[in-house]
């Protein structure tokens, strides 16, 4: 059964005024439990509005959102329960750190879940370890940490609630290449170790190609497509037309394919391009 389902979800901001703007229009998607989904779409495509519906931060103007088959707005008093099930990490989440120590900051979510102190402690330590924070860092003030560490502490705060779905809105924005790799590696580890369903919003098609299993593309408030990485990136030219940027290596492969070489014009990682070229050059394994 799908862990997330939206049925004809529509959201109109400032409805009934002259500023009314349809940010999400008639979106029906199903996301299976345990998937790693990449979400792309340029600014204003509706992706942020959509993900804010998935844990009830926004309520649909029309349509329904179902988590584990339950309409999250069926009973308004229940909405908290769904916010624990679906954890949302905002952009630049380090701005939301506020506690005196990293440990206390990570424990804020679990504490609100009325868990026993022993359970809270074990969740904090587990979440911290999953994002690669440990030892004396937990007793430091969050403001003493580096940018990348702060961001990991903020992610751990959501992970510690053990959500069934973890949604991350551009978790690598503003980080250097090494910081990006570290965070993405940790998200993959969380996915593999805990089986948490992941939705990763990113502008980097390369990152999505490398980490996600399926891709949701939003365009002009609607779902452009939701499919496997290969199927989605086989439409690279349409994606470029929407203002999304195709990896440099894809453009190189497309140029070579155009010259008549037997290369898939939809190659999007250096590893794949290298493997194909080595085969063509007679040095490959296949």
């Amino acid at each position: 059964m799908a862990i997330i389902r939206t049925e004809n979800l529509t959201h109109i901001y400032s409805k009934g005024t002259v500023f009314a703007e349809t940010a999400v229009e008639n979106v029906s998607i199903e996301i299976e439990k345990g998937e790693f989904v990449g979400v792309i779409g340029h600014t204003g495509s509706g992706k942020s509005t959509l993900i804010q519906h998935l844990n009830g931060l926004l309520a649909p103007t029309s349509g329904r959102v179902l988590i584990d088959g339950e309409d999250i707005w069926a009973n308004k008093k229940d909405i908290r329960r769904f916010r624990f099930k679906v954890g949302l990490v905002f952009q630049y989440p380090e701005y939301q750190l506020f506690e005196e120590t990293v440990y206390r900051d990570i424990s804020f979510g679990p504490k609100n879940m009325n868990l026993s102190p022993a359970e809270i402690d074990s969740r904090v330590l587990e979440a911290a370890a999953l994002v690669g924070l440990g030892g004396d860092i937990l007793e430091k003030s969050p403001f003493e940490l580096s940018g990348g560490q702060k961001r990991r502490a903020a992610i751990a705060g959501v992970v510690a609630m053990r959500p069934e779905v973890l949604i991350l809105d551009e978790p690598t924005a503003g980080l250097d290449p090494r910081g990006r790799e570290l965070i993405l590696g940790e998200i993959r580890r969380i996915h593999e170790k805990t089986g948490t369903t992941i939705l990763l919003v990113s502008h980097s098609m390369e990152d999505i190609a490398r980490y996600a299993g399926r891709v949701l593309v939003m365009n002009k408030a609607r779902v452009f497509c939701y499919d496997t990485v290969d199927a989605v990136f086989s439409r690279a030219e349409e994606l470029e037309g929407m203002g999304l940027s195709v990896p440099q290596i894809t453009r190189v492969c497309r140029e070579l394919a155009g010259m008549g070489y037997d290369l898939d014009p939809n190659t999007y990682t250096v590893e794949a391009a290298k493997a194909r070229l080595l085969t063509l050059l007679g040095k490959g394994e296949g």
Binding site: H42, A173, G174, G179, P247
Partner: protein, 281 residues
């Protein structure tokens, strides 16, 4: 002539009360930038690149060493205004830099503070907005603009002061690909058409490849200072410094490691495709 000269600069942030002085963030940095250059500065978080940038318009002054802007020592407080008129600074978050509720008023803000006559302000604001391709939005509210558009308004506010040089500290970090492309196009045009010197601090390798020269910072020192094709040929060293290389460079590097004869200085998509085509025969 050099517009910027950084001579053997060491800088440490002041220590907190009673604590040991902090380890220096810049450790003997020397670099000269000539008028009209387009220089990208790379380095992982904590490498000292933002600290260096803040020395270029006297937001920070060296603990040891000297920074000269068109020959003016940034340590001379009486010349602060002269320095800041020559070197303008643009920061990462466009929302933190916009002060007015109408785009053209925002661009005029600094000129009004400098006491420029009204007619001259009008002319400069119109020109600046035109230069960044935002004339159409002169009367719009900044908070309705996209990130890329806001950043271009911030750049207009700087160039309206007619600086010789703009220093930008990760101006595209918070933008989507379209916004990033807009900002890069604007910077290249300002550099090419108006001769404005550009110093661009960035984490994006594809932006660095578009510069005339790349300075790589690591651990408070300059690791490389050369044209992009030369800098990016150091694939292993850059990776070790927490940085990346363009995908084209990485592909050629991998193929070279597999025993194929490819030049080390390939960075453009066209060069890469041509070189690989030659291998394939």
């Amino acid at each position: 002539m050099d517009i910027i000269e950084v001579r053997d600069v060491t800088f440490g942030y002041p220590a907190m009360d009673g604590a040991m002085p902090c380890a220096p963030v810049l450790r003997g940095v020397s670099v000269k930038i000539a008028k009209g250059e387009f220089v990208a500065v790379l380095g992982h978080n904590g490498s000292g690149k933002s600290t260096l940038a803040k020395h270029l318009n006297a937001i920070l002054t060296p603990t040891r060493g000297t920074v000269l802007i068109e020959g003016i020592d940034t340590a001379d407080e009486s010349r602060l205004l002269d320095i800041r008129r020559r070197v303008g600074m643009v920061f990462q978050n466009p929302d933190n830099q916009i002060v007015a509720t109408v785009v053209e008023e925002d661009v005029a803000f600094a000129l009004e503070n400098l006491g420029v006559p009204a007619a001259e302000i009008r002319r400069r604001v119109d020109e600046a907005l035109n230069d960044v391709g935002m004339s159409k939005y002169a009367r719009h509210a900044p908070h309705h603009l996209s990130g890329g558009q806001k950043q271009r308004v911030a750049i207009a506010g700087i160039i309206a002061m007619r600086p010789d040089c703009i220093v930008l500290d990760e101006p595209t970090a918070m933008l989507d690909p379209r916004g990033r492309a807009e900002v890069m196009r604007t910077l290249k045009a300002l550099n090419k058409d108006h001769g404005i010197t550009v110093v661009l601090i960035t984490h994006f390798m594809d932006e660095a490849t578009q510069a005339g020269r790349v300075v790589v910072m690591d651990d408070g020192k300059i690791l490389y200072d050369a044209p992009p094709s030369q800098v990016f040929s150091h694939v292993e060293e850059l990776t070790a410094a927490g940085l990346d290389v363009p995908q084209t460079t990485r592909l050629c590097y991998e193929l070279r490691k597999a025993g194929f004869d490819l030049r080390e200085d390939i960075i453009s998509q066209e060069d890469c495709a041509r070189a690989v085509a030659r291998l394939l025969g």
